[in-house]
Symmetry: C2
Amino acid sequence: MTAVADPLIVRFAEIVGPAAVLTTPEDMAPHLEEPRGLFHGQARAVVRPATTDEAAAVVAACHEAGAPMVPQGGNTGLVGGNVPFEHGGEVVISTRRLNRVRALDPVNLTTTVEAGVVLADLQRAADEADCLFPVSLAAEGSCQIGGNIAANAGGTGVLRYGNMREQVLGLEVVLPDGRVWNGLRRLGKDNAGYALRHVFVGSEGTLGLITAATLRLYPRPVARATAFCGLDDLEKVTALLRHARAWSGDSVTAFELMARFGIEITHRHMPGCADPLEAPWPWYVLIELSSARPGAGEAGGVRDDLEGLLGAAFEDGLIADAVLAESLDQAEALWRLRELMSEAQGIEGGSIKHDVSLPVSSVPAFITRANAAVTAAMPGLRPCPFGHVGDGNIHYNLSQPEGMDKAAYLDHWDAMNRIVHDLVTEMDGSIAAEHGVGRLKVGELERLKAPVELEMMRSLKHALDPAGLFNPGKVVA
Amino acid sequence: MTAVADPLIVRFAEIVGPAAVLTTPEDMAPHLEEPRGLFHGQARAVVRPATTDEAAAVVAACHEAGAPMVPQGGNTGLVGGNVPFEHGGEVVISTRRLNRVRALDPVNLTTTVEAGVVLADLQRAADEADCLFPVSLAAEGSCQIGGNIAANAGGTGVLRYGNMREQVLGLEVVLPDGRVWNGLRRLGKDNAGYALRHVFVGSEGTLGLITAATLRLYPRPVARATAFCGLDDLEKVTALLRHARAWSGDSVTAFELMARFGIEITHRHMPGCADPLEAPWPWYVLIELSSARPGAGEAGGVRDDLEGLLGAAFEDGLIADAVLAESLDQAEALWRLRELMSEAQGIEGGSIKHDVSLPVSSVPAFITRANAAVTAAMPGLRPCPFGHVGDGNIHYNLSQPEGMDKAAYLDHWDAMNRIVHDLVTEMDGSIAAEHGVGRLKVGELERLKAPVELEMMRSLKHALDPAGLFNPGKVVA
């Protein structure tokens, strides 16, 4: 008996060429595994179109065959939105080969890039044109712009420049039936109809395949200054933020909170991570100022601003101690403490994670109440809150009690989520701040969002993807 | 025979009280007339709910009766989106009494206000809390926040702070069936589902009734500096913008272009408007820098920055002459030239208007080509382009030829629109930059937008307003 070829896969090969259609388990493997190992999917095929026309033809073929599709960029998402389910009936459409920078206009301060351009490559292209592309995050060496848009990526530059959403001026999208919407506007103002691009930003691949985008650029900062502060009281963090924004003329580009426990484990597990302050403090804040003002790197510039604001903060009792980076190397060493914290947590043992946001003014109360609730539920559990407190965004991660079995600990994932998410909801926060909903939080969204809002979301989904073929089961059930 | 009372009006009176239901022609008149006199509508009634609950009950009653509704704020819109049609079957829902500032949080830098709060009142409330609400436009003394959101208002602060859209963190909306969606988030990051608020921002009352919003605030600038420059060549305006942004560390808050003709008629018709420069120049730019950095009002601050950047621009031949305001009075006198230009045009005779945007780098070429096209079509016609060139937004207004009959001139409105909008479309611009589509541009949108985009807009409209009761015939036909 001869194996009958899957006609959809035959069609894909006609469209993109056989080398761009992956069907063996080995070839498909990197596209099926969620990066933290939470989900292990299967797929009918992985297709890699190289042009918008190819992408449109692939989607049209899937639409005709009734085959569900999972758009995938760098596969760095943390909520399972970018991997297929286990049933194996989905087609993964990888944007990896859609990787051209189509245009970069330093006068208009815009760039048009394809979905598969790696974020770090876009940052570099902007830099070479004396501009800044401000979105920056841990996965920037491998995540792709299309995924950043689909997830509305956040990161460390949001306080000053906004999320990925605020950078998106225009989109090119292959709609679920294979038609192409060319909405690649390069305009600062455009009220000619509904803001369709915003429906796709943050929709996590459930409404269509983003193939290209026009993004904002900014004048490139000429100087940065970085400091690491110890705080004796969590309550002081919001006053410190307000003080820093006022003192610096709103040039704070990063304001990152860390708990003592996080510094300890990063110091312990990560080579080259020293404790920057002499005495231990219960809380730490990493502050970065930057400025594009010529002369900002000289006397009277951002370094003096930072030194002045720290001095005044010390006098007012807002900070207990601080160190100011005297070189780029020192600044990078301070950032490493923040950036390697998540990895250090993995070495320390099991970690139950939450990506939540609160009104900035509620962050201290949230952390205090959440710490009390989770340690009451499991004595010995070690909270490791850290994150972009300037945006109200806390990675509220929970390290296992010492000596507990890791798997037994991780069995409490859903129960801990429930405790934390209930509190977040009570305090007007979001249970999905910058990582999205994906597959991981569909149930919690269903449980916690107002029915009217879930219904509005379903109406939008049905309006744009009536056959339900794009990333089914993600975001909205 | 006894007149039978309209049962819907009886119901309105039960909900909001009889004094808040207007039915006589005299009472309704201010709500039916488009401010430039382009449209004179009729209505079944004008209803003024004072709370969200009242508004929801009014909408539910209309929904049940199948009565179309026109949401209305300050009725300052310029495209007929906020007035009813002539047939008289629509109910105008005025947000005037929904006018409370519900909350203002200077730590979180957010405020929650009802739709009927007047823009200038919000600016004042923010100022009193040592904060800035950055949206500023000519109608700010009477326009309302709900209308600003529905129209995605622009104005003079967009270059630095973005449009109204960028200020909206959350919305409360009465949906077309009378249910209330409470989406009043106060979060810098929130990816828990689709960005529903962005569907309503800029939808011009066609998808529901906005009753309240949570908006961003900013640290208040401590200093401003204003200058008025003469240019000998339109081509230089984009290089000057780039120079100003780079020199000032991106602290340009306004960058407004004016043509000589506009300055001449403003000088002629508006009392107290002098020509600020000794010799005439074909083009002028008003530049404003501002900064929230303490000390920005002193030596080495924004005034010195502006003086330095003007000196360098003069040396490089980017500007031919300039005057720097030495006092707040002088700065206001310079702004008056820009702000009274539209009024001066009205005195000068008939004016055919366009509110268009282009990529910033294409603005000079657009103006040159458009001027050639419209004067070829009507010799003697006097173009008066002005506007927010930093956002690529030009109010491309055309004053009638001297001596021509005004009404005869205005009969060419549609033909001139067609010439200008065709060019805008060819050059990747928008025919509705900051004033929206309303009733005025529905036909042009239909003519110029890609069919796939119109279809997407209709799908969204149908998904959220399946009975088509909200502002029918506006934005999308």
